[in-house]
Amino acid sequence: MLALIPLLPLGGFLVNAFIGRRLPKSVSGGLATALMAVSFVISVMQVLALAAMPPENRQINQLLFNWIAVGDFTLDLALRLDALSAVMILVVTGIGSLIHLYSTSYMHEETDADFARFFSYLNLFCFFMLMLVLGSNVLVMFVGWEGVGLCSYLLIGFYYQKQSAADAAKKAFVVNRVGDFAFILGALLLVVTFNSLDFNTMALAAKAMPVETGFGTLSLITLLMFIGATGKSAQIPLYTWLPDAMEGPTPVSALIHAATMVTAGVYMIGRNAMLFEHAPMTLQIVAVVGAATALFAGTIGLVQNDIKRVLAYSTVSQLGYMFLAMGVGAYGAGIFHLYTHAFFKACLFLGSGAVIHALHGEQDIRKMGGLKKHIPITYWTFVIASVAIAGVPLLSGFFSKDEILFETFVEGHQLLWVVGAVTSLLTATYMWRLVHLTFHGEERFGHSEAHGHDDHHAPAQPAIQAHGHSGAHGHGAPHDAPWPMATALVVLAVGSIVAGYVNVPHAVGGHANLHEWLKPVFNATNCGQEVTTGGLAGLAIAECTPIEERSGDHTALELTLMGVSSLLAFAGILLATLLWLKNRQIPARLAAQYPGVHRLLLNKYYVDELYDATIVQPIKVMSTEGLWRGFDVKVVDGAVNGAGYLVSGVSVVLRLLQNGSVKTYAASMFVGAVAVLAYYLWR
């Protein structure tokens, strides 16, 4: 039963990949969507079955077959559903189904073959993602890990005739390979250390080990795995591929580059929480990298002008939050944010897709504005998701973000808390900048075609009427999302509102259900024997003791911090309204006043250029001059050609023997015969 969850999308992939081009769109897209929906229903049933079990052994295992058996090392291809993977499969299949539904409408203008290709990739992605989260050991996870990377490559490069899309796909793949290499090294080191790759076995073995005070084996393993996570989850220093990945179709950005694949790194740390818990140095690095990424990406997001790129940097920033949570040991909070983020970020991306759809491919927010009355459904869902991500109280983002900030503060990382709080202000600001520039203010779209490139003033209304022939896909007034897109948007918007209520903190009278649900996973089942030595002993015990006791001490603090971050959220929204709606000349004046800073942000801190100069170009030069013109031409070709020259040189001498004279040949035969006879006679 468990295996059906990933196998259904795989079936959809096979059908669409092989006969999809001959099927009408309604069949290929409908099949892919229906299979995901069935997979979601099965997931819900399985999770309900899981919930019915006693908390200390909530696990459903399914052994598919024994994969590797070498000596005393065995590895199964097995699936395991526990509290953590339950959250993930619900997110993947649930949001995946909605995005499939959305795509049936969004991709409708493609040809039948491209349409089927799109859905086959999308289904294949879901299969690999489900293998990643359901795998019971590192290798199965790694298969999924690589598979989602492949699908990400295929989908970013979906419009492969477009140079920028093909380049972005390649970049994503190559950057991911850098991280994957570290991940492989980490996995190999795990085999050496634990002689097993099963998550349960490793967690129990790690639990028995002392917490490392210096930089030991566990620290190295976890650091390598974290480097893998920085590639997949777009953290410093390997985040550069994610903004470029926006070249892919928008539903892909929503599914892969916001809701699911990029959170794989966070999931991986949660899955190996016991290992990370015993490597405090790595955890420190994770926390710092996460916080730095959150702030860094947030500042870039503030000045970008492409609607999807703003969301991409926002995703990087929010992933930074999740890693910050993981790094301070608040695994539950990190997974909680992963879960709420999936709703509002998928909603935002799908909303941006609806905007782009409505404007026939326009992505520059400087050429939007005033869309509110044209596309109300998109507008309202987008606003709800923006409010949620900004952290306005009572929506999902508020609960998860506050919890991360609170845990960061309580675990004693006040400096990181400040970074997180500033980022939270930035998040609210850039999201509302996006909302204002896209939906509010004057209309700046449509007239560039009619009146040349005069895209700043002039009443837009006549221009739109001039385009008046409003067929379903004609160049008429922006039209709102058709029903499949609207359904997905509305469901996700509702999710953005209510998703946070599964984990209302105790401080405001909730029960922190998600924490209770996830706790056995992070503590390796039983809380009885906690590690009592080493630097993190106190923390480990704190994790273990029922949350009521700890929050008893901190209710006041938690409420204070909640108040602070709520204020920050409102301040951010207010700031954005002031700067980009009421007083649009202020940002321009600021940009003019600090041209250096503005250019630095607009060019994304020149990180791509830096990587190009320090890594890409040296590798290119080394490959061209050293490996190609040096080794390949001189050594490899030299050896092959040299062998040829040697043979022809020797044969210049040898061919003198073959002069064509029959008598010479007869003489040599005679001499040979005499020599053979002589040998036998005098032997």
Partner: protein, 99 residues
């Protein structure tokens, strides 16, 4: 007659044939010399057969005679072909079949 006499004669004939192959400048004479060498060998076979009272020597001889007849036919045909091509019977004129 002892075997030795036959073998000496056979050896002499073979030597004459060999010398002919190396020394004469006419392709037809060359073929004749080759025939001489074959018949020297035939003589040796027959002599051995008589010495050991076995028919094998004579059987082999028949084979050699058959092959020699075929060889003479093919050889003479080639010689005619070559002569038509080059107007010469000197073996040194035919050296173009090389590398």
């Amino acid at each position: 007659m002892p075997l030795g006499h036959y073998l000496v004669l056979s050896g002499l004939l073979f030597a004459i044939g060999t010398a002919g192959v190396f020394l004469r400048r006419n392709l037809i004479t060359l073929l004749l010399s080759v025939e001489l060498m074959l018949n020297a060998v035939n003589l040796a076979f027959v002599a051995f057969g008589r010495q050991w009272g076995a028919v094998d020597g004579q059987i082999i001889t028949f084979f050699v005679m058959t092959v020699a007849a075929a060889e003479a036919a093919v050889g003479l045909a080639l010689v005619i072909g070559l002569f038509r091509h080059r107007e010469s019977l000197n073996p040194e004129a035919f050296t173009s079949l090389k590398w």
